[in-house]
């Protein structure tokens, strides 16, 4: 009786089995990497904005303090977006005729808000409080990156829950003295933290990793 299969068939079959296994593992690995990739989280991806605002000019070159525009960052959950009036307080003098500023002027005259696209929007079940972080020594830079070098505002971190937890589990290394919160490119070293804050957070991880700290 003749052979049903050639020797090659055996090899092929075995290879197929091995490949199947490898394929499964590979798929898992890919998924793992993809889920953490910056592109997945739109890190560094600018969004279309009504006005080509440049943080690198305002914050970087002109050294305007973050709080001049994001005025409620130290007392409210929302950092606050500058009102058209705030913009106009300078731009009624400089760049008066610039067409790129038309939306701002329109907003100001008609009392209609200006609609920016958020690049840092969290899902609606996650609640973030700017003041609570800023007043405890979490710097703008820590989450928003070197805004002072951004021609177009982009996300600097994934802002994934895991990323939040990394800090919430042990905040102290990431914290800064209050006066350094708004500086960019500051070298964080826990050494110059006020002791009360260090104390406050030494035992804080349990509270900071409680679900209701961010989810309600």
């Amino acid at each position: 009786m003749a052979q049903l299969f050639t020797p090659a068939a055996t090899t092929a079959f075995r290879v197929a089995i091995v490949l199947l296994g490898v394929g499964i593992v590979a798929a898992g690995a890919t998924a793992y990497v993809w889920a953490r990739a910056d592109s997945t989280w739109k890190v560094g991806k600018p969004a279309p904005q009504p006005v080509p605002f440049r943080h690198d000019l305002h914050s970087g070159s002109l050294k305007i303090d973050c709080r001049y525009c994001h005025s409620t960052v130290e007392r409210a959950a929302d950092a606050g977006m500058p009102s058209a009036q705030t913009c106009m307080s300078c731009h009624s003098q400089v760049w008066v005729g610039a067409s790129v500023l038309d939306p701002v002027r329109t907003s100001f005259t008609l009392g209609q808000p200006l609609e920016w696209t958020s690049v840092h929007r969290l899902p609606d079940y996650a609640y973030f409080h700017h003041a609570a972080h800023v007043t405890k020594g979490v710097a703008c830079e820590t989450c928003h990156g070197r805004v002072d070098q951004m021609p177009r505002t982009v996300k600097a971190q994934t802002l994934s829950m895991g990323w939040c937890l990394d800090c919430h589990r042990d905040p102290v290394p990431k914290l800064r003295p209050r006066e350094a919160v708004f500086t960019m490119g500051y070298e964080a070293h826990g050494g110059d933290l006020p002791d009360d804050i260090r104390e406050f957070y030494r035992e804080a991880s349990r509270r900071l990793t409680s679900c209701n700290t961010c989810h309600r």
């Binding site: 009786m1 050639t6 068939a9 055996t10 079959f13 075995r14 990793t209």
Partner: protein
Amino acid sequence: MTQRLYGIMAEFRTPRALTEAVRAAQRSGFTKIDAFSPFPLTDLARELGVRTTVIPWIALVAALIGAALQYGSQYWMNVVDYPLNVGGRPLNSWPAFIPSTLIVAILWAGAATLLGLLLILRLPRLHHPVFAVPDFARVSEDRFFLCILSSDPLFDPDSSRRFLETLSPEAVREVPACG
């Protein structure tokens, strides 16, 4: 008759005949022999010197690994990595961690045993010289075969064939090596 051989195969009607043949072959000093049957012949296997004790060892080791991994991961996840107060229970609620540990141990043992089996038997092997033997198909139903492999030091196509024919088989056939 110039083609290389895998061995020479004798066909028998009954398991007893096969057993006799095997014993005879062993008496006459053949070492590289293989027997084929439509159902397990445990005694014959023992005579052929098969020791299957490795199987339970595979199972045991796999079970231990599985259990360790499962309990370890439970411990690491619920106690070390993200300790949460769940219903005021202790972080390391070992009694509650036991059941899935046990189950996963079984999962590993079972899977390892059966996959290990295939590895030991070098299966799958779709092509094998013996399949070329006419009538060998009946090994899966009602025929018993003894094969003296060409790799046996005492193997010689003619003498071996003659030897087999002395065992009053149904038939003796050459098994061409695959090439």
